[in-house]
């Protein structure tokens, strides 16, 4: 391959005898040894037969400079601003033309670029922020697969960083955007492998796209929270691609079923964590065993805090157990239920606290489960009674209101459990249990009232019936008296 390229460069550098026309522009400029002509020798365009005039206009066959670079006959000079992209697009957006050069690639790069975040106007207001040449260079353009290309996987990070790593430059466009993506990237698994020459790991364009780069806040962006898992999965779910690295490929499936995945992908809650929220984005790496709770704790702060103070913290660290993950899993974290605590599966406590080895922990788990169970049962009973009273047409909005505090205690108890302290749990649960008992009594009173109304009606109906009978007999009596008279 390299040999062929060198040969081609040699062949083209020296005009071939018998070639029907000679590129006079290149000939003169080569003698000047200027940069454009030096680079253009290896340019893919020249290799496909496009001369300087293809972009700059003018007459490449004219011997005299005045004729070759005559503006009257179509010499365009050095294009500026959007004109640059305009020159490229003349061919690159024309499918037929590209085919004639043997390319079946895409022809929508300019359209994508215009819609991308780079399609904004630059500070001058006269041109777009990014032209084709910004990333691809003007002369010496080679295939993206060529290691000399600025957009080759091993080079693209530096190309992007030439602007994105420059605080003074980035301040012009998005002062809040960090400029440390490349250093961070170099700490990531992707970045370290990339630095070692692995072209299959993710670089900037793998996640952000190339021509169609959009802001991470743009819902169409490949790194918008709800799109991000699919973007990561495009490589990480590919078993062929992942084979050399020996890592699993089921993370996306697990995540999609998890409480986080459902929130993010089904409910489209952008606040739910995507891959990067736990693994980092540019500095992507799996969180460390001892720091899992800190990572989860960015959102689940109270749980993490309680856990870190609990006796489990030291026990987990000693045994090198990942903190939250040991009980909750990682990608496939499902919505928790109270059944996670206790002695029988799906409860997780007995995984370590076997009744024989660690009986204290085992009984503590059982009694904590019992506290929560009694709270749940009391809440259910109270709720059922309130509903029954409501169905009977009784007014129980007060009790409905009070049910909130029971529910709150139940939710709080699920947080408090992470302290693994029975007394603390009891304290939280007691509030809810007391409230549930009150509601129970009041709802029962409402139901009793319902029956009282019916009994009351029965009694008064009986009384009225007796009175009616009495009156009837009385009327009969006075009327028979009247007749007797």
């Amino acid at each position: 391959m390299i040999r062929r390229l060198v040969l081609m460069v040699l062949f083209t550098a020296v005009p071939l005898p018998g070639q029907d026309h000679v590129d006079q522009c290149l000939q003169c400029h080569q003698t000047l040894e200027d940069e454009p002509s030096t680079l253009f020798i290896r340019d893919i365009h020249r290799l496909r037969g496009i001369t300087c005039a293809g972009c700059h206009g003018g007459d490449p066959r004219a011997e005299e400079m005045e004729d070759a670079m005559n503006k009257q006959t179509g010499f365009l000079g050095v294009p500026k601003g959007d004109e640059i992209t305009g020159r490229c697009v003349k061919c690159h957006s024309d499918q037929e033309r590209m085919k004639s050069y043997g390319s079946n690639g895409r022809t929508d790069q300019e359209l994508l670029l215009r819609q991308s975040v780079h399609g904004r106007l630059s500070v001058s207001g006269k041109e777009r922020l990014v032209q084709c040449t910004t990333c691809h260079n003007a002369h010496g353009i080679v295939s993206v697969k060529d290691k000399r290309s600025p957009v080759h996987p091993l080079n693209v990070t530096a190309t992007c960083a030439s602007c994105h790593g420059n605080p003074a430059y980035m301040r012009n466009y998005n002062p809040a955007l960090p400029v440390d993506q490349l250093p961070k990237y170099r700490t990531s698994v992707h970045g370290r492998r990339n630095a070692r020459g692995d072209t299959r790991v993710a670089e900037c364009a793998s996640c952000h796209g190339s021509h169609d780069i959009r802001s991470a806040h743009d819902v169409k962006s490949s790194v918008y929270p709800t799109n991000l898992p699919a973007t990561c999965a495009s490589c990480h779910s590919d078993s062929v691609r992942m084979k050399p690295y020996g890592i699993p490929t089921n993370q996306y499936e697990s995540f999609a079923e998890s409480v986080h995945g459902i929130a993010l992908l089904e409910k489209h809650d952008p606040g739910a964590p995507a891959c990067n929220d736990c693994h980092g984005n540019h500095g992507a790496a799996p969180p460390g065993v001892q720091s899992v709770s800190q990572v989860c704790g960015t959102c689940h702060a109270l749980n993490a805090d309680l856990f870190s103070r609990s006796p489990h913290k030291r026990a987990f660290d000693q045994r090198n157990l990942p903190e939250c993950e040991t009980c909750h899993g990682n990608h496939s974290i499902v919505a928790v239920t109270d059944r996670l605590i206790g002695s029988e599966p799906p409860a997780v406590c007995a995984q370590c606290h076997s009744p024989t080895e660690y009986p204290a922990g085992y009984t503590a788990a059982m009694s904590m489960r019992a506290i929560i169970d009694s709270l749940v049962t009391l809440e259910e009973q109270a709720r059922a009674l309130v509903e029954e009273a409501e169905q009977k047409g009784m007014e129980v909005s007060e009790q409905r209101f009070a049910l909130r505090s029971v529910r709150q205690a139940r939710l709080e108890s699920r947080t408090t459990i992470h302290a693994f302290d029975k007394a603390k749990l009891q304290e939280v649960a007691a509030k809810g249990i007391a409230a549930a008992r009150d509601i129970h009594v009041q709802a029962q009173e409402a139901i009793d009232e319902y029956y009282f109304r019916r009994i009351g009606l029965g009694v008064s109906t009986l009384i009225i019936t007796l009175l009616v009978i009495g009156l009837y007999l009385y009327i009969k009596k006075i009327e028979s008296n009247g007749q007797q008279r």
Partner: protein, 359 residues
Amino acid sequence: MMNFLRQTYIWLDERLQLRDLVDFLGKKYVPVHRHSVWYYFGGVSLFLFLVQVVTGILLLLYYKGSEELAFESIQFIMSRVQFGWLIRSIHSWAANLFILAALIHMFSVFFEKAYRKPRELTWVTGMLMLFVGFGFGFSGYLLPWNELAFFATKVGTDIAGVVPVIGKPLLEFLRGGPEVTGATLSRFFGFHVAVFPGIFTILLGIHLLLVQRQGMSEPLGLEKNPSLEQKRMPFFPNFLLRDLLLWLMVLNLLAILAVFFPWELGQKADPFAPAPAGIKPEWYFMFMFQTLKLLPAHVLFVDGEVLGISLFGLAGILWLLVPFWDRRSARGEQNRFVNYLGLFATLYIILFTILGYLS
């Protein structure tokens, strides 16, 4: 005990000449014939009105007639006040039964031509009381300030706004502004607990006085046929006791309805919410509502609604003045035209009410 009662009676009699009253009532007789049963509906209407007065006053103890508190105060009455549910349900049920009893009373009087001379004024006061009764119903319907009532009032006052010439001022007068708002509620509350009871009481006084003075009317046929043996019964105590007996049964019926079919409160009115499906007026307005709905938009260059309302107005006036144009009955002759007219009105009301509930 009996002695004490007797002495009290004597004490009162010495000052008020109660004996005259008892004698008068004792000499008053109620005719007994196969149509006698209709006589009781006047009494039932009176009883239901008294129930309304009592329960209405009780409701006033806790009801708050403002946009913010009306709904909540009824909710409060129904849930927190002892027997509040009973009082409120009885008030609502008795209101409907009152209109029903009054309508039956009115039609029975109409068909028996009991309005004929000399009882024209009794008829007129009775009809006016029925109209005030409709007013009671319409104004009382809004007072819980729930969704259905809110929109029914909106529609009802809208219809009043179509009345030719005075429509717009009338609508604004009823609503207390261009829209149904808290101002409407205040107004309706005032009508319901002050204006209408006042008018009604005066009319009722005249009505009862006239009934007592003139006695019960007898159907035309009986009067003309002296050969038939006329049965009669003393008003006091025989008829009055029967009245009481029936009243007790009605009271029991009210209690049963209140316990088994408590009057619903629904959702609080929200002026900005879209109108719920199936807004229906109270059943006794249904035939008019349905007629206006079925009328085409334009009948011979006249707006359909305007025409409907004008016709109903005319019919009402005609009905009110029947003793004055039905000369034949006044002379004691049969008047088939009036019979057919009454039959037509009855059938029309029944048919359109049914249609209204079916649609």
